[in-house]
Subunit: 254 residues, 2 copies
Amino acid sequence: MNIVFIGAGKLATHLAVELTKHSFNIQQVYSRTDSSAQELAKKVNSRATSDIKKVDTNADIYIFSVKDSALPSLIAEMPVNNGLWLHTAGSITSDIFKGHVDRYGVLYPFQTFSKDRQLNFREIPIFIEANNKNDLSLLENICLQISDKVYALPSEKRQYLHLTGVFACNFVNHMYAISQHILEKENIPFETLLPLIDETASKVHSLSPQEAQTGPAIRYDENVIQKHIDLIEDPDLKEIYSLISKNIHKTNKS
Amino acid sequence: MNIVFIGAGKLATHLAVELTKHSFNIQQVYSRTDSSAQELAKKVNSRATSDIKKVDTNADIYIFSVKDSALPSLIAEMPVNNGLWLHTAGSITSDIFKGHVDRYGVLYPFQTFSKDRQLNFREIPIFIEANNKNDLSLLENICLQISDKVYALPSEKRQYLHLTGVFACNFVNHMYAISQHILEKENIPFETLLPLIDETASKVHSLSPQEAQTGPAIRYDENVIQKHIDLIEDPDLKEIYSLISKNIHKTNKS
């Protein structure tokens, strides 16, 4: 099966490399930036282009993995063909393809992708969608070769999934970043925090997050909460601390 | 070495159980609630009391592990003796003991403790403090028997450490709780989120949190950010989403 990648970012790279391990052929890689297209093409033994109009029209699958804002114009400019067009975006409905191409859908791997991180793709949940039964079945079969966790999910629900990804990954990571910044100022190594970070993540495998909660906010220990707000210099962070503490308390009461 | 525990909560229980594994004797357990005192005493083959005035005066070490707000009155009411008095609170200075007893300090294990969670104590950083060199050395030796990571840290710095614990554990856990709530409404199992939660925690072992960041906030993708705020029903959560997104963007620019 021949696949074209539109985009050569972190998600595209992880996905393309994984697919080649399972004997899919990455026929071509497009990126707006020629060097990025070349870099991914080299990794997966493919050809590169930075001209969307020169994308091959004879591939089986086209995977768009680009910034949300770049997607509409790329779809409009790409030569029409008979392949199955897919995007990998959490918050864009599948019908962004409607009117441009007959066969389309979504392949959304629910994970955070960084350069040089090895990931076990078998563990990554992949949420799929297609505008006809045959293509949904085709897409499921493709995804099951790289992951054990493949689920059909309509666009309306996928957007909520994406939202939880922002809370449980991006915002969590920002809590780590805030902590690192505070520790650096006190000359305490960030490594000190890793056992706590790991246990916090590990706990919710066996307890619900609500059962797992500890600390001053859930006890609504106003003394500690006020001391902490006084320790924080940045007014925006004071506000974030205060709002999340109140929300923990409110959630626990209800 | 004979130890008395003042308090029988989650931290006290984990610590007392661990100390008994390393041949410390838990001589007595006090808790305001008789059944809690009994429960921990039974676990560590000790005696229980719910009368602070009946605490033994001949032990070597007294570990206060109670709510911050309960600490001052317990210290004032407990019979004075020649033991080393310690508390386990992140945000209370060691001199809360001053004037009540000659030998005092802090034993602060930097971890989140839940009932029925097995923890590897050797990995838990313990931050210690004492009002004289001999007791600091004694305390260090005690802690090194249960953990490989024992550090002397003054109260002023410990309060910042505690603050980062709130961000990196309690607030992180609340991000998980918010996510669970959203997923439940969409009938998507919370387990779906676990690979993302694990990878987010795992990443910061090898990348700094700032390098590890992904998602709409760091790209400042205002379309997705606005879509997500529209999806959230609770006005407090809308505000939390918006504030953290702005803060991620601000941190990234600076």
